[in-house]
Symmetry: C2
Subunit: 193 residues, 2 copies
């Protein structure tokens, strides 16, 4: 391969940029913010991402989708997928305060982008719908196996969990406190048993 060697890897730029977008959102993050966070100057930045700020944001979101996908695969291998989902919620409580304040980048994007960018909005909505689908399927399977008392439609229960996820996204900022969140999470998970 010819040419000056790359010192700012695409993946690394996206990861660093994701951290800033996650905290400040799309609109409030400036190119200057991204350049400081990634170390890359305007030259490298636009050479790597012709689509500029929006392309990097899309890829940061896409990166997050992959994390959810990885969890989905983990679920499919698990003997007790619903318990894995519940543990996923439980693990939220013990996160660092900064993680509470950051919340979920996908849920954040849905709230921020509604009247700003239809495309980014729809992308984010689609991702959470897939997560919801994952919840629904796990609940359905567990009901079929006779492991759940509740006979409520799994579609409703899946939506209950994604609603909880989105609610937690704000509750965590109101109470970035391990004990408060732990109690709340246990109470809400008890609905699905």
């Amino acid at each position: 391969m010819r040419g000056r060697p790359t010192i700012y890897e695409d993946d690394n730029i996206i990861k660093k940029a994701q951290e800033v977008f996650w905290q400040k959102g799309y609109s409030a993050t400036s190119l200057s913010d991204l350049q400081k966070a990634t170390g890359a100057g305007a030259g490298s930045f636009y050479n790597t991402f012709k689509g500029g700020k929006k392309e990097v944001f899309k890829k940061a979101i896409e990166e997050r989708r992959l994390a959810f996908d990885a969890f989905k695969i983990e679920l499919s291998k698990s003997g007790s997928p619903l318990e894995l989902i519940k543990d996923f919620f439980r693990s939220i409580a013990s996160a660092e305060e900064n993680e509470h304040l950051k919340g979920c980048i996908i849920a954040n994007t849905i709230v921020e982008m509604t009247f700003i960018d239809e495309n980014l909005e729809d992308n984010a909505v689609q991702i959470l719908k897939e997560v919801e689908q994952m919840f629904t399927q796990a609940i359905k399977n567990e009901q079929i196996k006779g492991n759940l008392k509740t006979q409520t439609d799994p579609e409703i229960l899946g939506r209950y969990l994604i609603t909880f996820w989105c609610g937690l996204n704000t509750l965590r900022r109101m109470y970035p406190d391990k004990n408060v969140l732990k109690n709340q999470i246990e109470m809400q998970l008890a609905v699905i048993s």
Copy 2:
């Protein structure tokens, strides 16, 4: 009173500005947006609000707090306050699509402002905590009167409702659909009975 008469009333500017902030959030709303929406030029705008954009946003949020306060007074007069709260949630389902997409301006602000403006963030958090307190108190009273089966700590149940409120803030955008929301709201309210 001396001087040229006011044609852009403070309250009217705030109401019109609130609508824009509600849809686009703080950062993505420009002064140009506000001037278009209110009709007031830069002269009138800064003459009326020395604090500029931020002052108007604060007042738009304050206006919303008053709406919650009004509901609180309505509650105190009601014979069945918990039922009033439940109806408040139920009424969400039948809102217009545009209202679903706008969501709750206070919850939106909490999500947007976390790493952007501590003061605006804290204000919004405080408001939702007061709403939560209103939920908690209504549930506590109903438990004392022996009208509720559930003996779960009213503090947990109040937090459950405010978490639901915040979750609904995103779910409404995912499914701005009357039937989906109606089913979801009924299911979640059934937990408090």
